[in-house]
Symmetry: C2
Amino acid sequence: MSKTVKLEQKVHAKGHEIALKLRERFAAKGIYVVNLIGSPGAGKTALLEAAAKHLGARGGVIEGDLATDNDKRRVEKAGMRAYQINTVGACHLDAAMVRDALNEFSLDGIEFLFIENVGNLVCPASFDIGENIKVAVVSTTEGEDKPAKYPKAMKVASAMVVTKIDLLPYITCNVGKMEADVRNIVPGMPVFRVSSTKDEGVKEFIAWLEEQRGSTVAASV
Amino acid sequence: MSKTVKLEQKVHAKGHEIALKLRERFAAKGIYVVNLIGSPGAGKTALLEAAAKHLGARGGVIEGDLATDNDKRRVEKAGMRAYQINTVGACHLDAAMVRDALNEFSLDGIEFLFIENVGNLVCPASFDIGENIKVAVVSTTEGEDKPAKYPKAMKVASAMVVTKIDLLPYITCNVGKMEADVRNIVPGMPVFRVSSTKDEGVKEFIAWLEEQRGSTVAASV
């Protein structure tokens, strides 16, 4: 097993190197990169559809899925350019996949690049794919205990978006507990309560991203 | 990379050996084992809570989670004995974890052993943990495209349970499309439409499991 671990570390180190280069490339273009991680059906694509209304052509998306190009088509229809990666078997995106995608996807005019990871609240948390920040997306319908049950995803995230708040009248979910649990793991974690379909809370999330981009771009000057 | 692949194959082969022994051990006791796979918050634990009402002490549960013993406590409260595995980092259960759990969890009196895998619709699909069948659990709130987007989990499953059908009036989800998509991957796949909280469709799912157990026990005589 130690041999496996060593080889895995080597693979991780290689990925880290590619991620660093990607991050430099994005920074040089003033592009702020957000790696969205969350369960299948957490509402990551719907959040991007809603974000498209606020960002328009300033936003771009790389979609990661095992199969189908459903999400790419949804995001394009909403008004942002998008590229689809199909991982087939892989449970997460890695930096090399993102690098290869950029051979076919132009970053021109993009200020915010969203990378929607494979639907999986576990594995994507362990991989640096050149992003500025990871954002954890958790839906109310998954249940209030998800932040406590998936602590690694919370630990690596810079913010949590709680989606589908419009369904709260019909389900049992204490969003206050989700917030308390995530802040128990990451003190002061920003939390955004969002309904993507009703465009609630999306503006606040985008405003926060604009702030983050602003200070990152300023810092890199 | 080929060295990593070879080592992975070795690890898989070892796991397969343990799984075979587990399956023999379960068969000798007449225990039918169901490996539940699904996203975080798909409603796997709620399905088990509902199953407890029908099976009582005939059912037992091994819970797999990265963290917390929430699910064990929920299932016990509902009336089935349960054991919690915390995988910490691991994105799926493996056969050795199940074997080790059985050192501390008695199978006496149990006819159906449910193993609730880590919330993840990707990785658990690749691991044999000694079960008779895998059952894919997908909620209506995750969206109708999940069977098409996670084909591997469907391919290895012997049935699909669509949970949270009581929320259909409030969301956009075509369950007929989910059924068509999964049967496009696995022709004739049994699909159960369930509301665990309203105890709808659970009886039919349990009856199907009883049939499966009946023919398996008969076959092993």
